[in-house]
């Protein structure tokens, strides 16, 4: 390696749509790793870190936030065209986020409650993931994302390899850590069996049920879990609320709270 020229740095841009900024903060949160990372990549556009911005095209765009306005729709298409790789970071960009709760209500009702002069607000009726509008190369899950996984994404692309991010559920993290199952041992409702790993089983390790902030794992059998929770005595309202948080708009969870609402109305 020493006798070959250094490879060109990966040109990275960070973009924000409808979101809380927490996921892009994860990049700044890489305190110990930040300097070595900065040597591996060129940060061309990251307003949270620097006003200095470089024009595109970009090797890797990290996109935070969901699509909620007509302007967002235009901007994400532009960014896609400027980006060799586009990776969504977080629940908002990957599934619509908590703000996607408006997808299951009348947006006019919310506007009237929240804003003094709702006529100034131009918004879509839905909050949608980036993938509803453009091709996405990788969706990094979490609310917020795990900084270790973010580093893995950046390093993988900087080294020209596929990112290695687990697709199994939180239970595997619990069991590897020797954590006692809160659902089996205490009857605590837990979304761990259907939620993608990445958090290190944070909540179960504090004897709490998982609330699914990394979203459904691929192939999640949320219906099977929902039925079991009902058997354990969880009422339709509790189950509906369990599935309608940060990943309320992810299909596996969306089906469950839609079903829960129907059950509540019929009971």
């Amino acid at each position: 390696m020493n006798d070959s020229p250094a490879p060109p740095k990966l040109k990275v841009a960070v973009w924000k749509f409808a979101s809380c900024d927490g996921c892009q903060l994860s990049l700044l949160d890489c305190e110990d790793e930040l300097l070595p990372v900065a040597e591996t990549i060129e940060i061309a556009h990251f307003l949270e870190a620097s006003r200095a911005v470089a024009p595109g095209p970009y090797d890797l765009s990290l996109v935070e936030g969901s699509i909620t306005t007509p302007q967002d729709v235009e901007r994400i298409r532009e960014l896609r065209a400027q980006s060799k790789l586009l990776v969504t970071i977080g629940a908002c960009a990957s599934a619509g986020g908590i703000q996607a709760l408006k997808n299951f209500a009348r947006v006019e009702d919310y506007l009237r409650v929240v804003y003094a002069t709702p006529e100034y607000v131009e918004t879509l009726a839905t909050s949608e993931p980036i993938s509803a509008h453009v091709r996405v190369d990788f969706e990094l899950q979490g609310c917020p994302i795990d900084k270790g996984q973010l580093l893995e994404i950046v390093l993988a692309y900087a080294n020209g390899r596929e990112p290695r991010v687990p697709r199994h559920c939180v239970c595997v993290e619990c069991k590897r850590a020797g954590q006692v199952c809160v659902m089996v041992a205490s009857g605590t409702p837990c979304l761990g069996p259907v939620t993608q790993a990445g958090c290190g089983a944070l909540c179960p390790r504090w004897s709490r049920g998982c609330y699914g902030c990394f979203g459904p794992m691929p192939g999640a059998n949320a219906e099977g879990l929902d039925e079991r929770l009902a058997m354990l005595g969880s009422d339709p309202r509790e189950r509906r609320r369990l599935f309608s948080t940060f990943y309320a708009n992810a299909p596996a969870f969306r089906d469950r709270h839609a079903q829960g609402r129907a059950d509540e109305e019929s009971s």
Binding site: R164, R167, G178, Q179, V180, S186, P193, N221, G224
Partner: protein, 405 residues
Amino acid sequence: MGTQKSGTPGRGDGRRVDPPDVPGGAPASLLEPAAVGDLLRILREQGYRTIGPTLQDEAIVYDEIEGLGDLPAGLTDRQQPGEYRIEERSDDALFGYNLGPRSWKQYFFPPSLRLFAARRAGRGFEIEPPDADPPALALIGIRPCEIAGLDVQARVFTGGGHVDPWFAAARERAFLVAVQCAQAAATCFCGSMSTGPRAERGFDLALTELLDEGEHRFLVEPGSARGREVLAVLHPTPAGPAERARAEAATRRAESQLSRSVDGEGLPELLEAALEHPRWAEVAERCLSCANCTMVCPTCFCHTVEEVNDLSGERTERWRRWDSCFSGEHAYIHGGDLRPSTRGRYRQWLTHKFGTWHAQFGSSGCVGCGRCIAWCPVGIDVTEELAALRVGSDRAETAETEEAT
């Protein structure tokens, strides 16, 4: 605590476990409950890390214990498919529980193990020495089915041409203090797997807790020379026929409480013929593909190997971690996942565990501990699934026979 001393017992003596002196147990003796504390102290003085049952987060799990006070005195567990609860006993039994979620495999086949590290050196790389050797462990309270589980994994990790060095060293150094079962959980089915509720071999010492009519003593049987040496230091009193009879009664009580069973008759052939059975699709509707059954199973050994490199790319570590046939990544090969459906994954697990394991390792992969039943978050019961597969297959066989005649 738990530091490795030089002259670790068991190291390099080339002996795993002595055969028992007499079938049915060597001359038995008696110990008071306080002597269990002395036993822990002696084993620790000899350099063993003492691992045993202790209450943690609403369950009795195996972890490092230092003395009598760490044991779950007066506690037991009640288990059902998908349910585990701690309950109080009416006595002060030290080993009056059944099984918890952690099996002993965590010490022989650790959930995460660094295999080695490598550092870039010019155009090549240099391997850094592997991690320290496994510690010498004293397993306090290993149950008969768990000894069988350890044997099954020993055949997997050390029985073939490629011996796993960690497992082999950890197993050779381990000192096994078995506790014979005097009760059974509703999820236990060791009887039909011929692994319990009593162990005749495979331990250094075996304890039977005698609790009837206000008595609280332990009947002790040595199973190896090491066991006899340690026992001698405890100055036990000889056991008479009455105590032996009470120990046998405890075993019979556990046997009588076994409520689940697996019919092993022709099971591998039956499973091989049942690959298209409709039951697989039915169980897949309930199964979450969450891998809990495989994580708590004392014999499941699937793992993944990962390279973890540092930011500079100058150093990399190779880690082995528990994986599962229920995870999508485990069956991912170039271009896709070869077992994308839960139906296919459950079938793979069950047919391997109870069927093809025989051809691969010469025994069943199941020891009947029932952990997969209790710790399945939706309470899927392997004994029920196997029975359902048998009924359907019998019917299919009968139909074929009828057609043929």
